[in-house]
Symmetry: C2
Amino acid sequence: MSRSYHHGALAEAMVDQALASVRGQGADQVSLRAIAQALDVSPSAAYNHFADKDDLLRAVGACGLAALDERMSRVLAAHLPDTPDAARARFSGLGRAYLAFAIDETHLFQLTFGPICEVKEIPPEGTGPYLKLMAALDDLDRWGLLKSGTRDGLDLIVWAATHGMATLLVEGAVPPEAAGVFIDSMARLITD
Amino acid sequence: MSRSYHHGALAEAMVDQALASVRGQGADQVSLRAIAQALDVSPSAAYNHFADKDDLLRAVGACGLAALDERMSRVLAAHLPDTPDAARARFSGLGRAYLAFAIDETHLFQLTFGPICEVKEIPPEGTGPYLKLMAALDDLDRWGLLKSGTRDGLDLIVWAATHGMATLLVEGAVPPEAAGVFIDSMARLITD
DNA sequence: TCCGGATATGAACAGTGTTCAGTCTAGCGT
DNA sequence: ACGCTAGACTGAACACTGTTCATATCCGGA
């Protein structure tokens, strides 16, 4: 065996290497040849595991989505109790986690939600982060914490606002400090 | 003169051609060489007018921002009167224009707000679209149409939500029909 | 009329993603 | 234990890409 990737480890190795490259220089600057070279493998070896360069990048994008999802899971685990206060903390915490991901994984965020990865549709069950955010919203509603008569359509608003704030942070259109302000304003706007 | 661009028209011609290419295939697929060829010009001619390929694309991105701004200006011109109803119409109309731009100029939107163009900062006065949206918000406030005590921080929320909804539409994460629902929900949420 | 500065050229360089004919080898069926 | 096949990998090639630079061309002002 030694340095021969004959036993199926190449696919994972390439994703890892590509992930590192994306983190460091952004998806546009990533070179398939460079990745192959870093792994001491011929460039064409990649095509046994990925149809495309974009196919490889999509795999990296999936890692990004998983990383975001894990951050949000950690937030939920930190506020388990079924109380109004915990429900509030979950909602704010999820939003903060989303924005924090955008701030310190800028390039990965851009790839994950960029043109290459094309998040399919909301159905069948939507992406993990989306579901978690909506569940937190349901919790707030269940405790009667939402301003009355605002529930319908709120999914879309909250999702759009959170995701939009993240992209504004990523684009540098807004400074990182604005993230906290945003979360507080949002909570103030929809709850009472 | 004939087909010789010797008299300074090359820069504009290249931007036009690049704009068309971006509209048709997206910024990633645009080739500087192809643009030059379409204009019967050597590839290196571009470097008398633009430092980079990215420099050219930035010029195209600026066109995109201008196009969005013009759509929004048209909306304002259609609802001039200084009445509460007109203020409401202006706010909703601006939002709708923003989303409409995202829907039928997908590729241009992606370039304009993508990594290449890097919207500088909000200051000195921010981009046109941002300013118009905030002015519409001020108008609503002036007429006392906003829910009491929600004004501070609302700029960020509305901006993020609108821009975020636009990117969700662009990414295909949400169907075009959702745009109307979004605008109505937003109006319902912040006004009474 | 001549000159100078902007403008366009053509060839070259270094790099890219992708294809394909051929090589190697790990592991299954007999 | 053997041969064989299916999968993994290579190396060279193709058709591109953005970018540079020495060279040639043209236009307007002195």
